[in-house]
């Protein structure tokens, strides 16, 4: 049996998720023994199509990204959204919360028309996506678990239990009780509650659980002394994208 042909692509992003993928030595070398990497612009010059699994990092932020993403979809048996930017729009979607003309003028002044852009969207708003690896950045262990599942033709992990569940299991002191704006109650788990384990509130980078009770979460945060303005702001660092932004 020939080895699966995998590829990495990126759109608007920091490329940190691809870097995380090569940030573990032994596992990466083991992985190399099981797959052929046929496209990975950041690391290799070769570029071939006919791909089994494409990992796509980044959000879609302009017209010219769409045909490129569709080409990747047409040439790949499986497309996986890699990281927050691809899964949920990530921090790139914060720009959707302001009028685009203002945003462009802020950066490029009277030259703004040279640089077209449109509201940020996750990749599944443009093409069919077969699986998601969440997080900003992706969690290494979660990535490896998911890669094993993908190579066996199985579905990626949905992680519908909030970060709080893992936090409790790890017996970490609740940051809400310390008055910190933690997104743990409504954020997808799977990261081992990494932020709270370092005394840092969860920023919601893995996206919200299915059907999150945002109002209840806001009530909990407000009970701990945070203003509505603070809470709304913190909630939108990673979770600004709304489907109606692009209709």
């Amino acid at each position: 049996m020939s080895k699966p042909r995998i590829a990495f692509f990126d759109f608007a992003s920091c490329e940190g998720c691809q870097l995380e993928a090569i940030n573990f030595v032994e596992e990466f070398l083991v992985l190399l023994g099981h797959v052929d990497i046929v496209q990975f612009r950041e690391a290799i010059t070769e570029a071939e199509w006919d791909i089994d699994v494409s990992f796509v990092e980044g959000s879609i932020t302009r017209e010219q990204d769409i045909p490129r993403l569709k080409e990747i979809r047409e040439n790949s048996k499986v497309v996986i959204a890699l990281g927050a930017c691809a899964c949920t729009g990530g921090v790139n979607a914060i720009k959707n919360t302001r009028p685009l003309e203002d945003v462009r003028a802020d950066v490029y002044g009277d030259k703004k028309d040279w640089f077209p852009t449109f509201p940020t969207r996750p990749i599944d708003q443009v093409v069919k996506v077969d699986g998601y690896i969440y997080g900003c950045p992706i969690d290494r262990n979660d990535f490896l678990k998911n890669v094993q599942l993908i190579l066996q033709g199985k579905k990626t992990l949905r992680h519908n239990d909030p970060v709080c569940v893992e936090c409790r299991l790890a017996e970490i002191e609740c940051l809400l009780t310390l008055g910190k704006p933690c997104m743990g109650p409504i954020t997808r788990g799977g990261c081992g509650a990494i932020d709270p384990s370092y005394g840092h509130p969860c920023t919601g980078c893995r996206g919200l659980v299915d059907d999150p009770n945002e109002n209840a979460a806001m009530d909990v945060l407000a009970e701990h002394g945070l203003t509505v303005e603070d809470i709304r702001s913190y909630m939108t660092i990673f979770n600004s994208f709304r489907p109606e932004d692009i209709q």
Binding site: C14, V25, I44, H200
Partner: protein, 434 residues
């Protein structure tokens, strides 16, 4: 022979982000040569407006996966200057380790994964995994070491967790610091071997010189530290500035070919990064790094931009030894439990930090509630872009007699030498709110 050449390298590989190399030659004359930045702009400015002081570094570290800690640090320094917050000596020492880890990790990634394949005549590091497995294993180990050094302080290099304005949300234990110090000491011979390895293939580094202006941090008065975290702005033309005066140096301008801005100071362009730091501050390197420089034939000032990679390698030697000493200092002092709370206030401030690709500026204005009114950020690659174009204009006419494939490779190798961080360069923060 009057030659016509039309080179368009779409999305140069083995660089961070998306850039195209263009060369048009008509009747033996270069009509156009440029690096065009085609990365999607991300408009970070809109993300910061009105945001609370404690959210800022969270967002800006996402500008770049390679220099996430550097962005976080420049951001924190700008915020502290604006909010009137002074970090403790312990915090500064820990931050220096974070920055050291990031510079190590990024330099090793560049040297081994992005540049070495050209020196060994292969298309990527992957074929080297079978022909030179020991080198690839060393590359991965050294890259990981850099990450581990940052991780012990900030939890995760991409993107740092614990690092905040004034302090940290969690401090490392002495035993964790000792472990990472031991790892560094164990890996020093691997770095010295790498110096010998690169010295053995140094004749494959293209010979090309173009003198330019070199801009980096310089030592603050009375300090003899090779500056990464703290310093004044220093130009090789003999001028110095305070970080808050950075706009006098950067003078950003916009070109239609590029979603990133360009910069110039006293000459047509200037260079930032490892070679600029080496040229401006090589007398402050540690003896071990000076010895490596001698082995590699590097005597400042070096005017060959292809040697940026070699300057990075010399810096890794310096950083390895220096970090061992900083950790010793922290362990001698013991980990102190300090109060990292502060009150926001209105103010304006700048932060300048040497990240892997050069000097990085963040500049913020906060209102009285500690919400962002105005932010500006000038990225190393943005500062280098004009210098790359100027190098191209000198280099291209000199190599026209070579086969087209070789011309293309030399131009791409030049781009790679600068280790451009294109995602960063288009992620401008220039906010001028009315």
């Amino acid at each position: 022979m009057k030659k016509n050449i039309d080179i368009h390298v779409h999305h140069v590989t083995r660089v961070e982000g998306h850039g195209d190399v263009l060369l048009n030659v008509k009747d033996g004359k270069v009509e156009h040569v440029a690096l065009n930045i085609v990365e999607a702009p991300r408009f970070f400015e809109g993300m910061l407006r009105g945001r609370a002081h404690y959210e800022i570094r969270e967002i800006v570290s996402r500008i770049c996966g390679i220099c996430a800690c550097g962005h976080a640090l420049a951001s924190i320094r700008a915020s502290e200057a604006a909010l009137g917050v002074e970090p403790s000596e312990q915090v500064i020492d820990l931050r220096k380790i974070v920055l050291a880890g990031e510079n190590l990790s990024s330099h090793f990634l560049h040297i081994f994964f992005l540049v070495a394949p050209d020196l060994f005549g292969v298309k990527s590091v992957l074929p080297l995994a079978s022909t030179h497995r020991d080198i690839v294993v060393r590359a991965l180990k050294l890259k990981k070491l850099g990450n581990d050094v940052s991780d012990v302080i900030v939890g995760r290099h991409v993107h740092p967790i614990t690092m905040d304005i004034k302090g940290f949300t969690a401090l490392p234990t002495v035993s964790a610091l000792r472990d990472v110090q031991k790892q560094i000491i164990e890996m020093i011979p691997e770095v010295i071997d790498t110096v010998d390895l690169i010295a053995s293939v140094a004749d494959r580094i293209p010979d090309f010189k173009r003198e330019t202006e070199y801009v980096s941090l310089g030592p603050i008065e009375g300090s003899n530290e090779y500056p990464f975290y703290d310093g004044i702005i220093k130009s090789s033309e003999g001028l110095t500035y305070y970080p808050a005066e950075y706009r006098k140096v950067t003078n950003e301008f916009i070109t239609p070919d590029s979603t990133a801005k360009h910069c110039k100071h006293l000459r047509d362009s200037y260079m930032v990064g490892a070679l600029a730091r080496f040229n401006n501050n090589s007398d402050l390197l540690r003896p071990e790094a000076k010895a490596a420089a001698e082995k590699l034939g590097m005597i400042a000032p070096v005017h060959n931009p292809y040697m940026i990679t070699v300057a990075q390698l010399i810096e890794t030697v310096h950083i390895m030894y220096d970090t061992v000493d900083i950790i010793d200092k922290i362990i001698r002092r013991g980990i102190l439990d300090e109060d990292y709370s502060y009150q926001p206030r209105a103010g304006t401030g700048s932060g300048a930090v040497e990240v892997p690709r050069g000097i990085l500026f963040h500049h913020y204005t906060y209102d009285s509630k500690g919400r962002m009114e105005n932010a500006d950020c000038v990225i190393p690659t943005t500062q280098n872009l004009e210098n790359i174009d100027q190098d191209f204009r000198k280099l291209a006419p000199m190599i026209l007699d070579k086969p087209e494939e070789d011309i293309s490779l030399l131009l791409q190798m030049l781009v790679r030498a600068y280790d451009p961080c294109i995602s960063c360069s288009t992620h401008q923060l220039n906010v001028r709110f009315k």
